[in-house]
Symmetry: C2
Subunit: 470 residues, 2 copies
């Protein structure tokens, strides 16, 4: 292979048009090549400099992709020996992972155990209660529910159920008239990005730590993201005032992702003041607002000014991402603009699914489910703190499904993540959530999604984590 | 109001950014103004010329919107008296329509009875069998099914079930690897339009008669549509050869919409020859391929050349549009390009819905349902022909859920549609499905969707139709 580096780039089947970003595309292609054996274990890769020249991209992009794959355990990097494909025991696969592997494509393959954040415990899905709701919904649905959607906002039954729930549980001012259903947060943010572009907004402030897929989505829609500082009080919304040209800000006020802080009242007020003064919009990502353990619920920011805040919620954390259901509560003046982007077709989940969720909420099953899961996650959180709290700093634990574990000085994220990979445990580092332009102090930490494992996998997963921590 | 015509355009709250087209937007705004009473009955509207000047649009656009609303019964046009808002009894509403009316937005409001094409009989949705399938799907689903989608093509279970069904029932070469699930035909066509644009295709041939929403969708994606002739043998695919620059053709081979012809073998061959010679793609819209009555099933065109034909199917006619489920069988070389457009998020219906449909198909319930509905529609078709066949020409009846009724000479579509509106019956004319640039002989006809009414509404609907025909 060493004599064919000239075609190595082409061999990677790099698709630079996917919008996933060069680094992500390159990382995926290399991972796939290592996984499939097309790059045999022990193979030495070209230097980042020469691959960069070969592909016509920045050397940093290649170096970062290599580093990520070293962190994941696919590659090894040793002084004097270059970067090589790791000798790697085929990880045991769970049944789910085997099913996933069968399905080709950009799948989330990998270790048997995972503490990567972003997923609820899927084994907790309330199958029986959901079926009961589905039966009632099917029995009671008017015939027209089976037809083409009449209202581009989604079924009125679900919007009414959500209005009641959000007002009660999250302090949201939620008239059903201004609720727009969507197929999850990403779909909602896509619609909002389109509406912002139509208003000729060019820049959106985001939290300095946050999800890269959200930043990438905004960038793809033509919106430049500008990072705010983040500290123990949440995003530094006071920085908004000093920046001209920003048309909106994306925030996670209830539980900053990933650092876990709750946005303080003063910073909430600062955000709303900025929006009122400049006419800007606040996009409130309330992804896990249901799960709060140690203190009074933190209400939604939207309640402070429903005309300046778009509230975004989702069933992905409280129930299951597979439902593809989310909701937006939109300022009255923005509803038509959002619907103009949403277009002719109703992309939300099926009418039956919407009616089932409406029934699930109004029957009280949703509250019961959330209560039960809250207990489960709280127990795990307590066990996590008990297991590792003496060795690492644990924060962001008052709410949600994940915690941040600060590593001792001298220990790198990469080394711990690599140890995890060799222990068949997928881990996530804080630094990958950092906005590339963010002005933040260095911080080596893990973002531990303790909601992710199934109940039966929780104990061995926690044991594996404990084993890899320094 | 007559002294304020200068602001009439603004008063209409015309949103020209919705992509629905100027005429559709203007029609909707005027209809809404008449419906809501904002334009009182008897109000005289400005001339089409002066409103066109006021809005800065073409006079024809205004004239066409007026004509459509006259046809629907919202406006009246009398020689010497100009165009006025009609004095109009509030139509009786079905329960469904009342529910729809409660939901604001671009709703399909209107008469109690409808023979407009495009919908199956929603009262025929197999609620009990669907619930059985949902129960099995919920019981058997692996936990990972509740998580984020692993494969951007959609659940493998449904793709496998569809591959078997489509091969058996429609003669489709349908490897699950090349099936991409989508949220109905419009979503599928949107994805394909994006993939075509990425290939730098600029022009797509369409049938001279076809759905305007499909043409509008293509236009919005930056693809110019070029009409083919349509006659009793279907679309004149031989015309493709003489036109340079066309990258794809959208066809309804099994049952031309709306004329109802089946594409002849010679014209199928001509389409495939064109595709092979030029590298073009055929997009096969098999919207009602399940419903065929009088002759041997007409297999899918895709079977002739799976590498040049994209097959698009949907549950919207065979089951219900409310499921938001469709499928594409894509040439192997195009799968990645389509997925690149589909993007990060899986916009298909929820995983549970996909698993339920998979179960519904593999258990045989889908075949049973289609058989039952075929008998129902066939009976209606026979009753339709018996009721009106002596007075008007009936064609396109060998298959599908609609027929074309040619009107006697001297009778206009508009007059019959208006009579229908006053009889509380919504009708659809053939001419509105005509491509604006199509070179087709004049033809006054109704497109009668006999699948649309519920079973209980069928008899009075047919009686109303009979009463309005000359």
């Amino acid at each position: 292979m060493t004599d064919s580096w000239a075609t190595f780039g082409a061999d990677l089947h790099l698709d630079l048009s996917t919008g996933r970003g060069l680094r992500a595309g390159l990382t995926e292609a290399l991972r796939e090549a290592a996984r499939s054996g097309r790059l045999a274990a022990g193979t030495r890769l070209p230097s980042s400099r020469s691959l960069a020249v070969d592909l016509g991209i920045a050397r940093n992009t290649v170096a970062e992709a290599y580093a990520e794959l070293v962190a994941e355990g696919w590659l090894t990097a040793r002084q004097g020996s270059g970067t090589r494909v790791a000798e790697r025991a085929r990880p045991r696969r769970t049944q789910a992972a085997a099913g996933a592997a069968r399905a080709r494509g950009p799948a989330r393959r990998g270790p048997s155990y995972s503490l990567q954040p972003g997923s609820p415990d899927l084994s907790g899905f309330p199958r029986a209660a959901w079926l009961t709701a589905a039966r009632r919904a099917l029995t009671n649905a008017p015939n027209e529910a089976f037809g083409y959607a009449v209202d581009p906002r989604g079924r009125i039954e679900l919007r009414e159920a959500l209005a009641g729930y959000l007002a009660r549980a999250r302090g949201v001012y939620a008239d059903p008239e201004r609720i727009v259903l969507c197929a999850g947060f990403v779909h909602g943010l896509t619609l909002l990005a389109g509406a912002l572009r139509a208003r000729r907004v060019r820049e959106v402030a985001v939290e300095g730590y946050g999800l890269d897929i959200h930043r990438d989505l905004l960038a793809k829609a033509g919106l430049r993201t500008r990072p705010l500082g983040v500290d123990g009080d949440g995003a530094r919304t006071g920085e908004l005032g000093g920046r001209a040209g920003i048309g909106a800000v994306l925030l996670t006020p209830a539980h900053q992702f990933p650092t876990g802080a709750a946005l303080t009242p003063a910073r909430r007020a600062a955000a709303v003041d900025w929006a009122r003064t400049t006419g800007g919009l606040i996009l409130e990502d309330d992804y896990d607002g249901e799960f709060r353990y140690d203190r009074q619920p933190v209400g939604a920011l939207q309640g402070l000014d429903p005309e300046r805040v778009v509230y975004l919620g989702t069933a992905s954390k409280s129930l299951a991402p597979g439902l593809r259901t989310g909701w937006m509560v939109v300022p009255a003046g923005l509803v038509e603009e959002v619907l103009a982007v949403k277009g002719l077709t109703d992309w939300t989940s099926s009418a039956l699914e919407q009616l089932t969720l409406a029934e699930f909420i109004t029957s009280g099953a949703y509250d019961r489910h959330v209560r039960g899961m809250r207990l489960r996650y709280r127990r795990r959180r307590d066990e996590l703190v008990a297991a590792v709290g003496g060795r690492v700093g644990v924060s962001g634990i008052a709410a949600g499904l994940h915690a941040v574990l600060d590593l001792p000085e001298g220990v790198t994220e990469r080394s711990v993540i690599q140890s995890g990979a060799w222990q068949d445990l997928a881990l996530d580092g804080l630094s990958r959530h950092r906005h590339p332009e963010a002005d933040l102090p260095p911080r080596a930490a893990l973002v531990v999604g303790y909601g992710t494992p199934s109940d039966s996998a929780w104990a061995p997963t926690l044991a594996a984590l404990s084993a890899v921590l320094p």
